[in-house]
């Protein structure tokens, strides 16, 4: 302790704080699995750090959110790396919280006297999921928009309160500006306060109660149930015994914690650096071809809903998560047997195995059903408003019922529908100008063309131009490298009619 340390110690009694926090004895036989909680805490600190800086360059409005994310990716020094770390950090939080929970579950550590801390842990799990859900929307890209569309609609299937709930989540009847602002406020204001507060409480209780001793130590000669009047006394004696032969928190346990936390953080930096966070095209509410998928940790649940008949949907969509949380919350109260090792708890073992296998199967199924990446319809830039308007017209005029575009819904083949050229890479073959003329009156180009003329009054010239601009963006699967070779030939000019 230096001079400043001594000065402070005289006034604050640092020595006793050190004794309670750092010099306290830990039970013997703690494993590397016991580092998962502190690793989660470390990632939470990483999320706070990166999140604060990201928020400095982010604008929570649909007009600017996407551009501000692009600004972070392209202009802010280390911005892309920070966003990558924050993105992978979110996944790491989920993985670590669940792993920590499984550790506590398998070792029976949620049993007497740690029921309260288990409940806080369940709350933390829910908060981490809420962080993931709200954060996913913020980039306001296609992924974000559509996953939130689906996510909020799931809440809307709740019986009785569904409609109110979805309006509440979205801040209006539609997913839009109010939703984004709301999710941003939740993500950076409310959730951090809640999570931070509960983490503090969680830690205070850990320090107060100490970490649970390994299951075996607490099982020998134990009364059968934890609500046995003798159990508390038994527990105190055994725990004290285990601590007596244990090590100190500092540096023995902290060193282990720091080694794991550092490894996790280094992994996050590597993932963030080399895989980044990714950014889809900007959110486009008119895109009917986009297949929404949530972040990976919601995939098993997302897949589950595919197997549920419509009549059962609201029951499963709301019921399953609610039931899962309820079971977790009540677990320490209906399981009061003093046995802690998983091998001696057949029901617990079967349930854990069952849930794990179910999640793995659902996850696997959703991966195998992953939409094969359609042809990127964007030629390296987000569609302009003109091009988007063209795509809407393409759907409205049902161009797609004759013309196929790979990656979009294929036309249904009816006998009376003439064969029409595929438009997958039409943008490489013809200029927008040529297409404008063609769409306006195909028979000028091919007298026996079956395509109707779309010139006025069917479509205005402006609309035809929008359509042509959109078609010009279709550049096939190799859009990034393909060079257009235009084959525009125009018919002989029509002789002006003699007056």
């Amino acid at each position: 302790m230096g001079a400043i340390g001594r000065w402070l110690d005289k006034r604050l009694d640092l020595a006793s704080i050190r004794k309670t926090l750092l010099d306290r004895k830990m039970p013997a036989g703690l494993t590397w699995w016991h580092t998962l909680g502190s690793a989660t805490l470390a990632v939470f600190v990483v999320q706070i750090t990166t999140g604060i800086v990201l928020a400095m360059y982010y604008s929570p409005s649909p007009d600017h959110a996407y551009d501000s994310i692009r600004f972070i990716e392209r202009t802010v020094a280390s911005g892309s790396l920070l966003r990558g770390i924050h993105h992978w950090g979110a996944s790491a939080m989920v993985v670590l919280v669940v792993a920590h929970m499984i550790r506590v579950f398998t070792m029976g550590s949620y049993k007497y006297p740690r029921e309260a801390n288990w409940i806080l842990g369940v709350a933390l799990l829910c908060l981490v999921m809420a962080f993931g859900f709200t954060g996913y929307l913020l980039p306001w890209d296609q992924k974000a928009y559509w996953a939130t569309q689906v996510g909020t609609n799931i809440a809307g299937t709740a019986p009785v309160i569904g409609g109110t709930l979805v309006t509440l989540l979205r801040g209006g009847s539609q997913l839009g500006a109010a939703t984004l602002a709301r999710f941003f406020a939740l993500h950076v204001l409310l959730l951090p306060i809640l999570l931070g507060g509960i983490v503090m409480l969680h830690l205070v209780i850990v320090v107060r109660q100490g970490i649970a001793a390994p299951p075996k130590v607490l099982e020998e000669d134990a009364p059968g149930r934890t609500d046995d009047p003798q159990y508390a006394q038994f527990y105190d004696a055994k725990y004290a015994q285990s601590k007596a032969s244990g090590v100190r928190f500092w540096p023995d346990i902290i060193a282990k914690d720091i080694i794991v936390a550092t490894a996790v953080i280094l992994l996050l930096v590597i993932l963030g650096r080399f895989f980044g966070a990714g950014l889809d095209a900007p959110a486009d509410p008119t895109d009917s071809a986009y297949v929404p998928r949530p972040e990976w940790y919601f995939l098993p649940f997302f897949q589950l809903l595919k197997f549920v008949p419509g009549s059962m949907e609201s029951f499963v969509a709301i019921g399953v998560p609610t039931l899962l949380v309820l079971v977790l919350l009540l677990l320490p109260f209906f399981d009061r047997r003093s046995i802690r090792s998983l091998v001696h708890r057949p029901i617990a073992l079967t349930s854990l195995g069952g849930v794990t296998v179910a999640c793995a199967l659902l996850f696997g199924a959703s991966m195998s059903e992953a939409p094969h990446t359609g042809i990127p319809q964007e030629v390296g830039h987000p569609l302009t408003s003109t091009e988007r308007a063209g795509r809407v017209l393409f759907d409205q005029q049902q161009c797609g019922s004759c013309h196929a575009i790979a990656g979009r819904k294929a036309p249904e083949k009816n006998a009376d529908v003439p064969d029409a050229p595929e438009l997958t890479d039409i943008g490489l073959k013809h200029t927008a100008g040529w297409m404008h003329s063609y769409i306006e009156d195909p028979t000028r180009f091919h007298p026996d063309s079956k395509m109707p003329a779309f010139g006025p009054p069917t479509l205005s010239h402006q609309e035809i131009e929008e359509l042509a601009q959109y078609l010009a963006t279709l550049r096939g699967p190799h859009w990034a490298t393909a060079q257009p070779e235009f084959r525009d030939t125009f018919p002989e000019p029509v002789k002006p009619k003699e007056k």
């Binding site: 360059y57 600017h64 501000s68 202009t75 020094a77 770390i85 060193a255 080694i259």
Partner: protein, 184 residues
């Protein structure tokens, strides 16, 4: 108790040996520093990013393609669209300048706003001077000097460059209504 806090102990041969505790402390310290550095460095770098940013690119605006096409001795008003970038906000603003040359080689450029209250002034062919229609301010075409009326200072002259017979100006706006020429 005190001995366990020692980082090192004397071995049999008298050489210093690192204790288990010492090693664990050392590992913890390294881990903490590495973790803080790999996240802290990019975070701080991004925070101070605006300071690190390169100076804004050359903001000369082309106002005329060919000097040969500009009238000599008569000022011309040129309007142009300028893209301005404020972080992630890009906007297009419409601005105008008056160009004047007496010899077809040396050019003067004036900000298109009257220095009095910002109205767009015009060229008065009859009197061969600039006239602001709002409060009848009058300026000299060749120097921008105030000839009459309320304007508090001469017209705001802008930097001009001729490159490959195209005319470029460095467009700036200045505070209006005051005697000093201060950038807005």
């Amino acid at each position: 108790m005190a001995s366990t806090r020692e980082e090192t102990v004397k071995g049999h041969d008298g050489a210093k040996q690192v204790t288990r505790r010492g090693f664990l402390r050392w590992i913890s310290g390294i881990g903490a520093v590495v973790s803080a550095a790999v996240v802290g460095f990019p975070a701080i770098r991004a925070f101070v990013s605006p300071v690190l940013a390169a100076p804004p690119p050359d903001d000369w605006v082309k106002v005329a393609d060919d000097i040969a096409l500009l009238d000599v001795g008569v000022p011309v008003r040129v309007n142009f669209v300028q893209s301005t970038v404020d972080a992630w906000l890009e906007s297009r603003t419409l601005n105008g300048v008056w160009l004047f040359t007496e010899d077809g080689e040396k050019f003067k450029a004036y900000n298109g706003h009257c220095t009095h209250l910002g109205c767009a002034y015009i060229y008065d062919k009859e009197h061969k001077d600039f006239l602001c229609p709002c409060h009848h301010g009058q300026f000299d075409v060749a120097t921008g000097r105030v000839l009459a009326g309320p304007p508090p200072r001469p017209l705001d002259e802008l930097e001009v460059q001729v490159r490959d017979s195209a005319v470029f100006v460095k467009y700036r706006d200045f505070r209006l209504g005051i005697a000093e020429k201060v950038e807005a």
